[in-house]
């Protein structure tokens, strides 16, 4: 498995992706389909408006009460027999999971889809310690076979087409004859993974919602692999972020009415799995031990800024990326880090630091399509603009790497700009000079090049607006 690069290179990767017609066709087709299906689900604007207001308020309130709800959640989970672990960093989270597995003597693990486990690079950590993780969500299984990372948070192998998957399966699955038939490919995966399920010593999953009042883990999925991973092996470890908690069980209903409809245009996923306890005496199946690992990894730092904490409302539906004109054209791998698209542009710079992923906050036109479809009303463009500011004028300790984009050239440039616009005399001289020499400056001048490489160089007018106005007889005020 590839080790994640420490720093993102959005521009460089974007150019490669933009020139890959197959990749662009794969994303275009997928995103068009997802947008159409979502729109059909929310055809009733009144219903959408009230449902979404409710969903946003539920998430905002849960964050307002986050410390209390986490305490309540832990108390109720513990009472129910589910063991709770806290991890401040990815390294701590990985160590906790490994420790639980080693104590149980587990050698093989079957995994349900979990973006937090991707954020932790858990598979690589387990493999390095002699434990074999097998991804069971079809999309995750495909990219695990291919040795790749997910390119979308809901549909991990969306960047691949049928032919690529058919070739991969024929190459990697024993005794499988090449086929492009989707039913046959799915049957092959089912057959290959049945044994893995039966033989697994433990199951690892993510969580969609943590219900504080009842101490329940809510997981949604379509394939049944999530239920199998959390039911068949004798040990279940769930990993998730500390922000996933909600206060009441009844909050699940509106959120569940928003999440799958926003994500895949389904009114509900095939399975909604609510887990509140390990196997009780007398019960014939289910894991005998259930653990929950709560990962921080920067979330509590983000939480300390009231505006940026809105990022933590996210329920990971991926509607923002499905509707993003940038994501659709460059695909998920361009974003380097685990979470791509608009939510990724917010999360990665905040979790990893603006010094590592700061270029991502500029990978947006601020068109607002993401905020329009966000089921919990995260004002993504406002938060991107805020992070752009933090990158040069840090105001908050909540932002890691704030001020890292500050450069001498930029400071001089903007300083000159300020001086010019705050003094009438300097302004007058500058406009005169630019009017005379501006058009003589070559487009390849270092400061101009970034702009002119993809745009026509603007023409300086021979006369300034002031001059023109005066000639037409307007007097000064």
């Amino acid at each position: 498995m590839a080790v994640e690069a420490r720093k993102s290179d959005f521009t460089g990767k974007a150019h490669v992706a933009l020139n890959d017609p197959k990749l662009r066709a794969n994303f275009r087709r997928a995103m068009d389909g997802l947008m159409t299906k979502r729109a059909a689900q929310f055809a009733d604007a009144e219903e959408w408006t009230s449902l979404r207001a409710r969903g946003a308020a539920i998430r905002a309130n849960a964050l307002a009460k986050l410390p209390e709800l986490l305490e309540l959640l832990e108390a109720n989970l513990t009472r129910n027999g589910i063991k709770v672990h806290w991890a401040e960093t990815v390294a701590e989270g990985n160590a906790i999971v490994l420790d639980i597995l080693q104590k149980a003597g587990a050698k093989t693990v079957i995994k349900g889809k979990s973006m937090v486990s991707e954020e932790m690079h858990l598979n690589a950590h387990l493999e390095a310690n002699g434990i074999t993780p097998v991804e069971s969500d079809l999309g995750e299984y495909i990219i695990q076979l291919a040795g790749e990372a997910p390119s979308h948070i809901v549909m991990p192998c969306i960047h691949m087409n049928k032919v690529e998957i058919a070739e991969l399966f024929a190459d990697k699955i024993k005794n499988l004859t090449y086929t492009e038939d989707v039913d046959e490919l799915c049957a092959a995966a089912r057959a290959a993974l049945r044994g893995a399920f039966a033989g697994a010593d433990a199951g690892i999953s993510g969580v969609n919602f943590l219900v504080a009042e009842t101490g329940s883990l809510v997981l949604i999925e379509n394939e049944g692999n999530g239920r199998l991973s959390t039911t068949l092996p004798p040990l279940h470890i769930a990993v998730t972020g500390i922000e996933k908690v909600i206060e009441r069980l009844e909050d699940v209903a509106p959120l569940l009415s928003l999440l799958p409809r926003s994500a895949t245009g389904q009114i509900i996923t095939t399975y909604v799995n609510m887990i509140s306890s390990p196997r009780k005496p007398g019960e014939k199946d289910g894991p005998k031990e259930v653990h929950l690992v709560l990962l921080d990894n920067g979330r509590s730092r983000v939480y300390s800024d009231v505006q940026l904490a809105d990022t933590l409302r996210c329920i990971r539906c991926a509607a923002c990326m499905n509707h993003c004109p940038v994501y659709t054209r460059v695909g998920g791998h361009t974003y380097t880090f685990t979470y791509p698209g608009p939510i990724g542009k917010l999360l990665s710079p905040q979790l990893e630091g603006l010094d590592c992923a700061g270029d991502q906050v500029h990978a947006s036109t601020l068109c607002g399509a993401c905020a329009e479809v966000c089921p919990v009303q995260i004002p993504i463009p406002d938060l991107l603009a805020r992070l752009r500011t933090e990158a040069v004028h840090p105001t908050s300790v909540a932002v890691k790497g704030g001020g890292s984009a500050r450069s001498l050239a930029d400071s001089l440039g903007w300083g000159g700009w300020t001086a010019m616009y705050s003094s009438p005399l300097v302004y007058k001289i500058s406009t005169r000079v630019m009017g005379l020499v501006g058009n003589l400056m070559p487009a390849s001048l270092p400061m101009l090049k970034q702009w002119t490489s993809v745009r026509t160089k603007p023409k300086f007018a021979a006369k300034s607006l002031h001059q023109l106005a005066r000639e037409r007889g307007f007097s000064n005020e």
């Binding site: 379509n222 394939e223 009114i267 095939t270």
Partner: protein, 218 residues
């Protein structure tokens, strides 16, 4: 040294307070006399087979349905009323072989994972809005029954179908006592991970048969 939890909680508690607000009004949908029609339409749209059957006749009807599919063995829960009805009704005549889920999964795993063709369970209720079955597995009717065999047959009482999940949660007071596992099932197992092409039965049941029963058992 303080624990990870202490350090995380200290940061959360040290953050500026923000007010919680009253939740805006939201009304879940209601279907009135169209409830059953909605339930059926949504399940069928999700590729499930729905049959409305008088309560006294469901085992017989199921025998015919499964015979058409060439089902050889059926997993059942012998200690439940549903399982007992099935065993009694199928004791005479030509029926699929009944396999009892009457011991721990560890002792029956291979058979469950690789051998049985179908399983029959009761559903606690239904949800019309989304075409969902509500399952609360029990010691006598374990979790894997609705998950491992290629065909899942769920028997649901028509009078237990409600409009929405919100109504189900509040009317039945779920928050006062959750079971080990509660599941909503809204069709057979499916995936669209390969080119957004729908395929059924990738991990769970390939077919979901819903028997909506009405009336008393004679």
């Amino acid at each position: 040294m303080s624990s990870a939890k202490d350090r995380i909680m200290a940061r959360l508690k040290g953050a500026p307070k923000r007010p919680a607000s009253a939740l805006p009004d939201w009304t879940p949908p209601a279907f009135g006399d169209q409830r059953m029609a909605r339930f059926r339409a949504m399940l069928e749209a999700a590729h499930a087979d729905v049959h409305e059957v008088p309560a006294a006749e469901w085992p017989e009807r199921l025998r015919v349905i499964l015979a058409d599919k060439g089902v050889g063995s059926v997993l059942f829960a012998p200690k439940t009323a549903t399982g007992a009805r099935l065993a009694q009704a199928w004791s005479a005549g030509e029926s699929p072989k009944l396999v009892a889920y009457d011991r721990s999964v560890e002792d029956i795993k291979d058979q469950l994972v690789h051998e049985v063709d179908a399983a029959v369970t009761l559903a606690r209720g239904g949800i019309a809005q989304t075409g969902s079955l509500v399952l609360w597995p029990t010691p006598d009717e374990p979790r894997l029954m609705s998950l491992l065999p290629p065909i899942h047959v769920a028997v649901v009482d028509k009078s237990r179908i409600r409009d929405s999940l919100a109504e189900t949660l509040s009317a039945e007071g779920w928050n006062t006592g959750m079971p080990t596992n509660a599941v909503l099932v809204s069709g057979p197992s499916k995936t669209a991970d390969i080119e957004q092409t729908l395929a059924y039965g990738v991990h769970g049941p390939k077919e979901l048969i819903v028997l909506v029963i009405e009336g008393e058992v004679e």
